[in-house]
């Protein structure tokens, strides 16, 4: 759906390239290898996402970055129709390891998307940056 005066839309929604910094470089290197990392705190045993250099729960720096299985379930979603490049679905999925992460549900029938539906990890290229983790219905 486009508004009067809106610029002519590109045919495909470009995936914004993730900004990489020294703290998150490792995450995006792993992404190149198809590995989705999350943070795990050895002090309080809590997983977290997005991964960072310390634990957001207990503030310990004893965190390691672990590879997620890629299995998840849908926590919440919305199909976005106000998009000049066609509808897309934003979602939070809950990783099998615990954290709920923001993503898109791609390559699947919108009609079949439901809360608690099983989802699995897929990677998509970004516009000139590292690949980005997405999910599809399992």
């Amino acid at each position: 759906m486009s508004e009067p005066g809106e610029k002519k839309a590109p045919a495909v929604r470009k995936i914004f390239p993730p900004a990489v910094n020294t703290e998150t470089e490792r995450f995006w290197k792993a992404a190149e290898e198809g590995k989705l990392l999350y943070g795990y705190c050895l002090a309080c045993n809590e997983p977290h996402y997005y991964p960072r250099s310390f634990c957001p729960f207990c503030f310990s720096e004893r965190v390691e970055w672990r590879q997620a299985s890629g299995d998840a379930t849908v926590y919440a979603y919305s199909i976005m129709y106000r998009s000049p490049t066609g509808p897309y679905t934003i979602a939070y999925v809950e990783l099998a390891e615990g954290p709920r992460i923001l993503t898109n549900l791609v390559d699947c029938d919108f009609e079949k998307i439901a809360i608690d539906a099983a989802a699995k990890l897929v990677w998509k290229p970004s516009d000139g940056g590292a690949p980005v983790p997405f999910f599809t219905l399992a």
Binding site: A19, Y75, I90, N104
Partner: protein, 389 residues
Amino acid sequence: MSIKGKAYVMGAFEHPTREAPDKSVAQLHAECARGALADAGLNKDDIDGYFCAGDAPGFGALSMADYMGLRNLRHMDSTETGGSSYILHVGHAAEAIAAGKCSVALITLAGKPRTSPPGGGRGGGGFAAAPEAAFEMPYGGTTHNQYAMCATRHMHEFGTTSEQLAWIKVAASHHAQWNPHAFLKEVVTVDDVVNSPMIATPLHRLDCCVVTDGGGALIVTSPEVAKQLDRPKVKVLGAGEAPKGTYGGKVDLTFTGAAWSGPKAFAEAGVKPSDIKYASIYDSFTITVLMQLEDLGFCEKGRGGRFVADGNLISGVGKLPFNTDGGGLCNNHPTNRGGITKVIEAVRQLRGEAHPKVQVPSCDLAIAHGTGGSLGTRHGSATLIMERE
């Protein structure tokens, strides 16, 4: 120390424009400031405290203070919590006044997302450098679809329906018909809302607020200054603020920061939700209203759908008259930030200056509550309780 009774909202001004192609954003701020000063009966040089947020162009409060020629400032605050900033600023102004740091505080908001999008508000493009940016920006998150995810989850957990959400817009439209400045003045029905185009499931076009240019300003003063002014006195009774985020993956979309800021404000004010005569509730989307009403304690968690249905928010009809100016859903949402208009309409109600068709009889206690940022990721919640003295 409490702020209860330590400060008064003595000036309130909502810019009448909804499209301002020929004015600068700074100019709109200044026009709003002038309007609020005139309303209070004060002069520019009386101002010794200034509050603004991310919509103010330039370097925090400095550019605007210099531009407006605020020569007597001894207190500044540019706390940014998005659209709720200006509700939060009233609480901060009351704190500063109670501590003797200033006695006449000016709060301004203005912007023009309607005639000069994008970025009508956001100052420095700092969002791209936020730590969460790389993990969120690729997914095309907008206010629409992030708030919509909360609605999806709320419907799943509590059985809330699109028709119930629609009642919020219907109530706002009933009020907006009496506001000559309202961007949308037409009364709509539940059917109109649920049959309007889908924007981001489950939210329709009419579940969304308007996009308007404009602004507003408030004057908050000490009790000593308030006494000298020839205006009805609106006393600050209590305020609460809270940020809510995604918490390292423990995001919970079923509640808002109102669950934390609300109880703080009610406790400070010494009143309870059932005492409130009028409620200004931030209405970026219908779901925003519903969830905040639950979290503020106007109804049980999960029963918001039933609470808002059947006109319960319509002045003169239901139990909790809300957003009697038409709110962000129909009247005005200047620079995509609705906090200041929430305070302004609450002040009108407490003064008895709302439109006669929507004025709540003997309205002596009101709440203004806002959510800024995104309900679906991180937001700043601000609650303000005011009383007519």
